[in-house]
């Protein structure tokens, strides 16, 4: 038997869905019995070796060939700008990367982005005045504002981004939103969507060639699992696409 393909899976909200689809595609997946402590797990059928890594690290593992394939959200994939193939989109992990702000400073003018600093509610903030933007996605945020001619002052955070406008650290935040509940609870309003994200299967460029047969088998099997899932969802939902 050939060497197993190494697949990098993101620890966290995408893990379970990724394992479900791999199982549906006919691959032996590790069970949860190990308490999640082991970092490298071999599938019982010897076709896949699983490594569980921080979501934002998946593209790195795959770009370097430390993993042949991986599952990553489009958000971290675009943020990391790593050179990997993206053969398949997977129907889970849906979320949006949005610009949000406190409502107090929002001007009535159509299309204009403005936000309010919590501690200076009366001072109108003009876009050209380098708004401070808190985010975990500096590359995408920078590109978004730069494209609009705005020199944003980025405040790169590793957690609790929603807090930043509440305490006057930032005018805007750029953050991931699934349902929008967290933003609403903190009194923040979505202004723009930067990216619609979902899970993607990614592949290393060298593995795609040197292990072509195994990688192709995985892509096709997963594509099959996705197609079956789509059909089932549509039937259950009377023809409507429930993913939206």
């Amino acid at each position: 038997m050939a060497e197993p393909l190494t697949v990098a899976l993101p620890k966290g909200r995408l893990t379970d869905d990724a394992l479900v689809f791999l199982a549906r595609a006919g691959y032996a997946v590790p069970t949860n019995g190990d308490g999640g402590r082991k970092l490298v797990l071999d599938g019982a059928d010897g076709r896949l070796r699983y490594i569980f890594v921080k979501p934002s690290d998946v593209p790195v593992f795959v770009e370097y060939g430390a993993a042949d394939v991986g599952v990553a959200g489009l958000d971290v994939l675009r943020e990391s700008a790593r050179d990997v193939y993206e053969p398949l989109q997977l129907p889970f992990g849906y979320c949006r990367l949005v610009v949000a702000a406190l409502p107090r400073g929002i001007s009535g003018s159509a299309g204009g982005i403005a936000g309010g600093k919590g501690d200076h509610p009366d001072r109108p903030l003009r876009l050209e005045r380098s708004p401070r933007v808190a985010t975990k996605f500096p590359r995408l945020t920078e590109a978004f504002f730069r494209k609009r001619g705005i020199a944003a002052e980025l405040i790169v955070m590793s957690g609790s981004v929603e807090l930043a406008p509440l305490v006057g650290l930032a005018d805007f935040i750029v953050d991931l939103v699934q349902t929008g509940t967290t933003l609403r609870e903190n009194g923040l309003v979505e202004l723009r969507t930067i990216l619609e994200s979902q899970a993607e299967l990614i592949a290393n460029r060298a593995s795609y060639r040197l292990k072509a047969a195994e990688v192709r088998e995985l892509i096709d099997a997963l594509a099959g699992a996705v197609a079956v899932g789509d059909k089932k969802l549509r039937i259950e939902d009377g023809g409507n696409d429930v993913r939206r």
């Binding site: 370097y64 060939g65 993206e86 053969p87 290393n204 460029r205 060298a206 795609y208 060639r209 040197l210």
Partner: protein, 447 residues
């Protein structure tokens, strides 16, 4: 003292430098056996020259600076453009084809990845003045021969042709924006995205639709060349396929077809290459090791237009790939550490005290002649400059991985060498042999 290195450069120490030299020597032996002649290119040129048509990506990666007249110079980001300049301005009327080769550092502002810093070692060849698949196949076969010659056990080369995708784009005649999106999706092998793209182009005829959807699968063994025939929309695509079929036969004759796979959806550097393209990979490296292709439009920027095909490989990555496959360069070291016995009545050993070398310089004379002969026979001889005692000399040899310590004594005709050797895990005791026992000494090499 704190003396940091600037970002993007590295020192190579002994074993790595030896490995670099070994790889370069193997490459030079290979390409010169194929009739390629090496040229030496300047490290920097006018930025205008180097930025010619290289596309915005490489333009952003240039290291730029000014000369005293304020003209912008740049460090070479690759060797192909300087080579094209040399051909276009100096060699254009020479008998064609020209077979050129080079090795040296190139400089790019890009994040360090897989052994590649801002400065990295590149070696490559260009076959200039010959179009057609015979020239293409020669260059690809030479790439395989070069990788074999540097002792890389496992690698693969993926062959593509820009004509196939260009022909497809022409056949589809999509609006510009859709074309850009399509190319992007194909570059990322984003199969699902292709489906969605086609939804935005409802007017496309079914054959064109089928050709787009088939693209991601047109990668693999030579069998994909057959599969691809079914989706050809025009002569451009047919011609690209014909080229690749002809290449397949030639590469078979070269005996390298086991290394070669095909990818008709390879769209990197679409604006730069004009015919075949290829990229080489090694297991575990994750990144491309060698890349090349046909670029018939480049030399025309510097002189009369001239067809050309070539490749360049990254020496730093080759070194990594070799290590990943278990090839480790041994630490270079001498075969013997040699000292002279102090003459009777002398003050004795200095054991490296300050001034020892000058104080005992005279003692050494007797052994220098012997060392010269031994070096002439290929033995690597280090001479102790510190006046070490036998025990200290032995320890010094051990500490530096030199397998033998030796003392030279006596004069012409009756000289002896007293030697102690470390072989495997065993250290022998001191023993004396005649200084002209070259049979024994020759065995000291290449253990």
């Amino acid at each position: 003292m704190d003396r940091p290195l600037p970002e993007g450069v590295r020192d190579l120490l002994f074993a790595d430098t030896a490995a670099f030299r070994r790889m370069e020597t193997a490459l030079q032996a290979t390409w010169s056996a194929w009739g390629y002649r090496e040229i030496h290119l300047p490290t920097f040129e006018y930025a205008d020259t180097l930025a010619t048509d290289v596309g915005s990506e490489m333009d952003a990666e240039l290291y730029r600076f000014f000369d005293r007249q304020g003209r912008t110079l740049a460090l070479r980001p690759d060797m192909t453009i300087p080579t094209a300049r040399v051909v276009g301005t100096r060699l254009y009327d020479q008998p064609m084809p020209l077979r050129l080769a080079y090795t040296g550092s190139v400089f790019r502002y890009e994040p360090p990845r897989a052994g590649r810093q801002h400065e990295f070692g590149q070696a490559g060849v260009e076959l200039i003045g010959a179009g057609g698949t015979v020239a293409d196949a020669e260059v690809v076969a030479l790439a395989a021969a070069a990788l074999q010659a540097v002792g890389l056990p496992e690698f693969g080369i993926t062959l593509g042709h820009v004509g196939f995708f260009r022909g497809l784009l022409a056949g589809l005649a999509l609006p510009e924006r859709l074309t850009a999106r399509l190319q992007e999706a194909v570059a990322r092998k984003a199969e699902a995205e292709l489906v969605r793209l086609l939804a935005d182009a409802p007017a496309l005829p079914p054959v064109a639709r089928q050709a787009v959807l088939a693209l991601p699968r047109l990668t693999g063994s030579a069998a994909v060349l057959r599969d691809a025939e079914a989706v050809c929309l025009n002569a451009t695509m047919m011609n690209a396929l014909a080229d690749l079929r002809s290449m397949a036969a030639l590469l078979d004759a070269y005996g390298v077809s086991d290394f070669v796979t095909y990818d008709l959806a390879e769209v990197r550097d679409l604006g730069y290459y004009t015919g075949i393209t290829f990229e080489g990979f090694a297991p575990g490296l994750g990144f491309g090791l060698i890349s090349g292709g046909r670029y018939d439009d480049l030399i025309g920027h510097f002189g009369p237009p001239c067809p050309a095909v070539g490749w360049a490989l990254t020496l730093d990555r080759l070194l990594l790939a070799r290590e990943m496959q278990g090839i480790v360069e041994p630490e270079p070291r001498a075969d013997v550490l040699l000292a002279a016995e102090p003459p009777a009545g002398a003050a004795g050993y200095q054991d490296g005290a300050v001034g020892a070398a000058s104080g005992t310089g005279g003692r050494c004379q007797a052994c220098l002649g012997w060392a010269a002969v031994a070096r002439g026979r290929g033995l690597k001889v280090e001479i102790d400059p510190l006046g070490l005692s036998p025990e200290a000399l032995w320890q010094a040899a051990r500490a530096r991985g030199i397998p033998r310590a030796a003392y030279f004594a006596g004069t012409d005709g009756k000289a002896t060498i007293t030697v102690r050797a470390h072989c495997g895990a065993v250290s022998a005791d001191w023993r004396s042999i005649a200084a002209d026992d070259w049979e024994e000494m020759d065995r000291w090499q290449n253990r």
